[in-house]
Amino acid sequence: MAAHTPSAEGATYLSRNLWSGFLFGIGLVAFLDETVFHQLLHWHHFYDKSTTNVGLVSDGFFHALSWFATIGGLFLFADLRRRNAVAMKRWWGGILLGAGAFQLYDGIIQHKLMRIHQIRYVDNVIVYDIIWNLIALLMIIIGVVLVRRTRHGNGRGRG
């Protein structure tokens, strides 16, 4: 601890804000995917006969990761709070980046290439795919902007 200069500590906290948000973002979007699209709307299917094996593995891995990321990201946030080092804007940037990246991976790699399941089982699923991935891109763009703007520590706000 003594070896840490204030600026080095500040840099650690900046990246920790980003990581906390990023992890929580992955968890959040995966949680929404599960509750809204699987359970409430019943658009997504638990298992699709055309799922490839690699799709099954990828789905299982990211599902596990997202569970861990939700809780781990929130504990990291709690850690930043107790150190009085929350940078709210940067944290939100991390969330959008994590959520967008995961949604894009889900929308292009998992739904389309690995065919784990479709967004909805209707004729013009392409419309759903486009909207899905555009939202993902939008989240990534806003996330990148927020993260770039706060890279020197001016994103600090009270937690």
Binding site: F46, D59, H63, A64, W67, I71, G72, F75, R82, R83
Partner: protein, 272 residues
């Protein structure tokens, strides 16, 4: 319903023997736990009530699955069987690990015996059995073998297999949980990051297997039961793993609390 589920083993004396043999270890461990509690009381030492409650609940969860009507139903119904897996292999071990039985035993035992036990726990074989990679393979790997080979249908025919598999499911579940959550004294410790990565991989292995079962029913299991059982395994496993993730992160959070600013920093932080 299904012919092979009603073999001699289910209704005959074999099943009774299986029930007795699977109940016995839990009764013994329960008696040991109670004796240790009594010894501690005589020594006028305290033991948190919530730990005892968790231990009793854990043993109850395990017992329910290996004896009585539940064990019978599990034989002919894959959904019940899967509920049994969640209770015996996941929830009971988690509750019992959280109850810190080893800490209790070490406190209750005379110093000499306690030292011998810690010596054994520090040995290499004990280190292997509490290594997260090995316990994950024993736990999740064992399940893969059970549900993707003919082992599952054979389990219903041979009493010996039934006993060994059920015992293995519990022991592997306990070692797995104990290798990730250090509630009891642990000598071969692994870092938080290491355990987190292993936990994610093991969780993934469990989830993938659940969906695999949904699409590929084990031998002798009707499709509808495999689908419902697979989903139960997936979401039920999630719920229990969520608790393991929570406790692992909580321990990590506590271990990394800011020490340098303990005198003033923490208080100011909490007022914000």
């Amino acid at each position: 319903m299904n012919g092979q589920h009603h073999s001699a083993m289910v209704t005959g004396e074999g099943f009774l023997m299986a029930q007795v043999l699977l109940t016995l270890p839990f009764i013994i461990i329960l008696a040991v736990y109670c004796t240790a509690l009594y010894t501690l009381k005589k020594k006028q030492q305290n033991w948190p009530l919530h730990r005892s409650i968790m231990f009793f609940t854990g043993v109850l969860c395990a017992l329910v699955t290996v004896v009585g009507p539940f064990a019978h139903w599990a034989h002919s119904n894959f959904i019940i069987h899967m509920a049994g897996h969640l209770l015996l292999g996941m929830l009971a071990p988690l509750l019992m690990v959280l109850a810190a039985p080893l800490t209790l035993f070490l406190k209750a035992l005379p110093v000499d015996s306690a030292k011998k036990i810690t010596f054994i726990l520090r040995s290499r074989p004990a280190g292997l059995l509490t290594h997260p990679v090995i316990t994950s393979l024993l736990n999740v790997g064992g399940l893969w073998i059970l549900y993707t080979t003919s082992l599952y249908s054979m389990m219903h025919e041979y009493v010996g297999l039934h006993i060994i598999i059920h015992f293995h499911v519990f022991v592997a579940g306990y070692l797995f949980t104990a290798s990730l959550l250090y509630i009891d004294p642990t000598s071969h410790r692994k870092s938080y990051l290491y355990r987190s990565i292993i936990l994610i991989l093991a969780l993934a292995g469990h989830g993938i297997l659940s969906k695999y079962i949904y699409g590929h029913p084990p031998e002798g299991v009707p499709v509808s039961q495999a689908e419902a059982g697979g989903m139960l395994m997936y979401y039920g496993g999630d719920a229990i793993d969520l608790m393991i993730v929570f406790f692992l992160c909580l321990h990590w959070f506590r271990a990394t609390r800011p020490r340098s600013s303990r005198s003033g920093g923490v208080e100011t932080c909490q007022t914000v």
